[in-house]
């Protein structure tokens, strides 16, 4: 096997993350991807024809059509571009991993990788009983048969579907384990609320000072423009429920798209591409197997640090995906030996998922891009993106600043 090649993060952009709203005219998933892909490509000296691979991820969309293939067509890519769509849980992570492997191991030069989450594909989902009734109706023969089927229609068929799509995949699973964790670590609701406020403040600071990494506004047919992330935190009402995890201190699903351009060293040299960061290495872990309290941040990070012979304090900045405030507060407690992490001064410094909302698959791309920009901005060297998905899959990624 040839030695793995270095993967360069060249460019990227994302749309603002939007809150789902029924009365708005919306973009479809493919259109969202198109918007960001075009913005990324217009900045490049090469055309879409030079792309080798397009990888897309989408957690919320119907995957019956090959979105990546369609995107390739609409971008006028060359005929031999290879495409892949990842769907389901942690699709974003998988897509990113696949894309970087294409360059590291598979001799590809330019890879466009992105994710988009749009809700409106199914704002209404038929529940199971209605679904089976429809099948029966279709199968019924003759007027008598149809009449029988019609009689069998009952109000209970019109109940809401149990599996609502607007929630984070694997949501209820996660909620339980997170609550357990919170009780074990002794994290109170107030602490969490405080953290959410901190995250929100950081986000607003970043927005005011234009620190949010390359955001492309969304334009609508009716002339509306959305050029910043929609605020999802309702600061006014206080949740009085007894649960430790409330709506406020959990990440909310939102919609949006992000697109990154990865390149090999040859491509960077050939087109003289400006490099944002180097993607050094990545690891996977699984917290469901072990007792998670043994590790400092998570298993994947431990492995990543060991593999690259780094210690915690050599990492300048962290981007941690926070499905809830519990995650981040646990890390804070477990990393007491590192003053920067325990004070959260280098973790999610531009606000995190809690304040921004989280399109399930596009979020990881936002984190990668934001971290690359943070490294560049602060002249720092190394940063880690880490994410724990609700089914216990852990992922850690080491980014190195490009400047020598």
């Amino acid at each position: 096997m040839p030695a793995a090649k270095t993967v360069y993060l060249v460019d990227g952009t994302r749309t603002p993350f939007l809150v789902q709203s029924p009365d708005k005219q919306c973009y479809s998933a493919l259109d969202l991807a198109m918007v960001v892909a075009r913005i990324v490509l217009v900045q490049q000296p090469f055309s879409a024809q030079n792309l080798d691979t397009i990888v897309l991820a989408s957690s919320l969309c119907d995957n019956s059509v090959d979105l990546a293939q369609q995107l390739a067509q609409r971008l006028h890519c060359s005929g031999d571009v290879s495409t892949l769509v990842q769907t389901g849980e942690s699709a974003g992570l998988k897509a990113f991993e696949y894309a970087s492997q294409q360059i590291a191991l598979n001799q590809k030069q330019l890879v466009l990788v992105g994710a988009m989450d749009a809700f409106q594909a199914h704002s209404f989902v038929m529940n199971k009983s209605l679904n089976s009734w429809v099948k029966r109706w279709k199968g019924a023969k003759g007027i008598g048969g149809k009449f029988k089927a019609l009689v069998a229609l009952h109000t209970q068929h019109f109940g809401f579907s149990e599996e609502s799509l607007s929630e984070y995949p694997g949501f209820s699973n996660y909620q339980e384990s997170a609550e357990k964790k919170a009780i074990k670590q002794g994290i109170s609701k107030d602490q969490m609320t405080e953290y959410v406020q901190l995250s929100l403040r950081r986000l607003q600071y970043a927005q005011r000072n234009n620190l949010i990494a390359s955001l492309s506004p969304l334009f609508y047919q009716d002339g509306r423009v959305i050029n910043r992330d929609e605020s999802i935190i309702n600061t006014e009402h206080a949740d009085a429920s007894s649960a430790i995890l409330t709506d406020d201190n959990m990440a909310k699903a939102s919609e949006g798209a992000a697109m990154l351009l990865l390149a090999s060293e040859e491509a960077v040299n050939q087109y003289k591409l400006p490099v944002l960061a180097k993607i050094t290495s990545s690891t996977w872990g699984d917290c469901s197997q072990k007792n998670s309290t043994d590790t400092r941040i998570n298993d994947a990070v431990e492995q990543l640090l060991a593999h690259n012979k780094l210690s915690l304090d050599q990492i300048d900045y962290w981007e941690c995906n926070e499905a809830s405030a519990v995650d981040i507060l646990t890390i804070q407690q477990q990393c007491q030996e590192d003053p920067k992490i325990s004070s959260l001064s280098n973790v999610n410094i531009d606000g995190g998922t809690l304040a921004l909302g989280s399109p399930p698959s596009a979020n990881v791309f936002r984190m990668v891009m934001q971290l690359a920009h943070i490294l560049q901005r602060n002249d720092a060297k190394q940063g880690v993106v880490t994410s724990t998905s609700s089914n216990g899959l852990e992922y850690a990624l080491l980014l190195e600043a490009a400047h020598e």
Binding site: M34, V42, Q43, L75, G223
Partner: protein, 670 residues
């Protein structure tokens, strides 16, 4: 069969004759007299034999049959005795009559462009099968040029479609695609290309399987004699008002129908009207202007055999970046996207960019009715760029911010620094000389100017301003860009006001001067209208915006010593802005001009001045300005002056441009 030049004849086992047209002389299947002779002979042969059916189709998939070959057209238009044109038209007329009277069923399979003569021949057949593809469309563009083909097809159209639908078809701005043809009854069936022949066969073998389109005398035709003008004004609202030339054709036709009734006599009479129309001065002038454009385009295409603006190389070819999404910026973006070019558009104001998406969607929907996937494709070509990132790698950078010298100067400097060195920078200035704009640039040799005359005119001829220092490579790039958005560039030297703006201002300023001397607005407007100007002067000023107008007038006054009319200054000082703001020389409500009661009365009872004298003043001023421009060699030929005064000032097409007009009026007075 004997050697046929224009046809392939095949008779199959079932007795069906397949007549495939293949005209090798030109790409677009244009007809000439020899074609008609051969056709007529063939039809005569078919009449005698026991033929079960006749199918007419084309050997090309992108064209059925279009207009008359340009050489033949030249001959017909400049035929003093009108014997040749009479002969030509009656030949075609006879041919169509023979096709119509064939006893066997006749079918035309229309695939690709079908216009003019194509429509005439197709209408003579019993059935028309239209192939449902992007390239298939029917139109009659000759009407706008001031003539018709005269084979009796228009009368047949009226008999089949009725009066209103026919007029809509003849006047339509967009050609009719398959869906619309079926809807109006122009064609009997729309079908995929591979099935068309099979369907024709079936129709001939089983005549009962299809209903024969009826040809009757429409009811409207009986009321026609009332008034042709009423009929024309009743054209439904979605149709663009016909040009003066088209109106003339339609009026002539309606007069024929009024006199003869809509039947075979009128079909025959079309020969006479076509003969008189094609040799009229107005049509001749229009055709001359058209041929000028055509030769220019052909010259370019011959010298650039590969890069002739074909859409095949779209994604690899130029990348366009537009700065400023005003009316002009948006228009260029739409044109580029329509022709398959990748375009990004930047504006500092997000709100201005936001209008691009909605407007272009409406635009593309009108251009591709019933083809949502093409609308999608066109929209995909436009990138809204809020961070101005597209400027870095664009091949063509177009600056289209408002006409302000300092703003343009600083923006051009910025572009000069940010863009790659090989790119071509285009400015859309209408009055400021390029040398003044490029003086601080590092590479002034890559700045050219482009004037598309939008939003006033949507003409094919555009002004390409080239200063002396511009390199050939840049001119080449700019030219290929204008051709790829289907516009023909006319090279113009970089002098203040260039050519069209200078002529336009001469027209407007002179009108204002006449107004200042005490002549009423309505008289001047009336005089200009009579002259055949596309826009009356004050309408034009309101449309352009009073401030904008004054700016240009001042710019020209500084550099050329033109007058700045104080009436314009007064109006601007009063805060009147023009049509967009709702008030200029006229009042506007919802974008339409309206008159209050007092004004109406005043307009009616105002003192009438001598219209002839006003016209003479306007004409003289414009002609003098044209000659002046020609003297200092702004363009290298008088024809270009004529072309640009028609497309950029709205000078009457029928008069064929100011210099041409001078030429033939002085000849006739001698």
């Amino acid at each position: 069969m004997s050697d046929l030049e224009y046809f392939k004849l095949k008779k199959d086992a079932n007795g069906i004759v397949w007549l495939t047209m293949h005209i090798t002389e030109n790409e677009r299947h244009e007809i000439n007299a020899a074609f008609l002779y051969e056709f007529l002979e063939l039809i005569g042969g078919i009449k005698e034999k026991g033929v079960k059916g006749l199918v007419i189709c084309s050997d090309k998939s992108d064209v059925f049959l279009t207009g008359v070959e340009s050489e033949t057209l030249d001959l017909l238009a400049n035929d003093e005795t009108s014997q040749k044109s009479m002969g030509f038209f009656s030949l075609g007329n006879q041919l169509c009559r023979h096709i119509e009277r064939l006893e066997c069923p006749t079918i035309a399979i229309i695939e690709g462009e079908c216009s003019g003569a194509g429509v005439e021949i197709a209408m003579a057949c019993d059935y028309r099968i239209i192939v449902d593809s992007y390239s298939t469309h029917l139109s009659y563009p000759q009407i706008a040029d001031g003539y018709h083909i005269g084979f009796g097809g228009i009368t047949r159209l009226v008999r089949q479609l009725g009066f209103n639908k026919t007029l809509s078809f003849l006047n339509a701005t967009n050609p009719y695609h398959a869906g619309l043809c079926i809807e109006t009854g122009l064609a009997s069936a729309a079908i995929a290309s591979y099935k068309a022949k099979w369907l024709a066969e079936q129709w001939i073998n089983q005549p009962d399987s299809v209903e024969k389109p009826k040809r009757g005398k429409p009811l409207v035709a009986k009321i026609l004699p009332l008034s042709s003008t009423i009929a024309l004004t009743s054209l439904s609202g979605n149709i663009k008002a016909p040009s003066a030339l088209a109106l003339n054709v339609l009026e002539t036709l309606i007069d024929t129908w009024t006199a003869q009734g809509v039947d075979a006599d009128a079909q025959h009479e079309e020969v006479t009207t076509a003969t008189s129309l094609i040799s009229s001065q107005a049509t001749r002038n229009k055709l001359y202007l058209k041929s000028l454009l055509k030769t220019q385009e052909q010259k370019y295409k011959q010298s650039h055999p590969i890069n002739n603006g074909s859409s095949d190389s779209r994604s690899t070819s130029q990348r366009i970046h537009i700065l400023g999404s005003g009316t002009m910026g948006k228009y260029i973006a739409k044109l580029c996207a329509l022709h398959g070019l990748q375009v990004s558009i930047y504006d500092i104001r997000h709100a201005a960019l936001a209008t691009v998406l909605g407007e272009s969607t409406t635009f593309f929907k009108a251009a591709f009715p019933r083809h949502p996937e093409r609308v999608q494709q066109a929209l995909d070509n436009i990138t809204l760029d809020v961070h101005n990132v597209g400027v870095k790698h664009a091949d063509i950078i177009i600056e289209s911010i408002p006409e302000d010298k300092h703003a343009k100067l600083s923006l051009l400097l910025e572009i000069d620094k940010a863009s790659k060195q090989t790119s071509c920078i285009i400015t859309t200035t209408s009055s400021i000389p390029l040398d003044e704009l490029s003086k601080d640039m590092v590479k002034p040799e890559r700045l050219v100017g482009l004037n598309l005359f939008n939003p006033l005119f949507d003409s094919t001829a555009v002004e390409l301003m080239i200063s002396d220092c511009v390199t050939d490579a840049v001119v080449e790039l700019a030219q290929s860009f204008t051709y790829s958005i289907a516009r023909v560039p006319i090279p113009v030297k970089s002098v203040p006001g260039f050519l069209s703006t200078r002529l336009l201002m001469a027209y407007l300023i002179e009108s204002l001067m006449i107004y200042q001397s005490g002549v009423s607005l309505s008289d001047i407007e009336h005089a200009a209208q009579e002259l055949g100007m596309a826009y009356t002067p004050f309408e034009l000023i309101d449309e352009l915006g009073l401030e904008e107008c004054l700016k240009v007038a001042e710019a020209l006054a500084d550099r050329l010593g033109h007058d700045v009319p104080h009436s314009l200054m007064q109006k601007v000082e009063q805060g009147l802005k023009g049509k967009q703001a709702g008030e200029g020389f006229y009042h506007y409500k919802n974008g339409h001009r309206y008159f209050s009661l007092v004004e109406r009365v005043r307009r009616k009872w105002a003192w009438k001045s001598d219209i002839k004298a006003i016209q003479k003043r306007l004409l003289e001023k414009m002609i003098n300005e044209c000659r002046e421009c020609l003297n200092i060699a702004v363009v290298d030929h008088a024809d270009w002056v004529d072309l640009l005064i028609v497309s950029g000032v709205g000078f009457s097409e029928g008069r064929g441009g100011a210099l041409k007009y001078l030429d033939y009026t002085s000849k006739s007075s001698e």
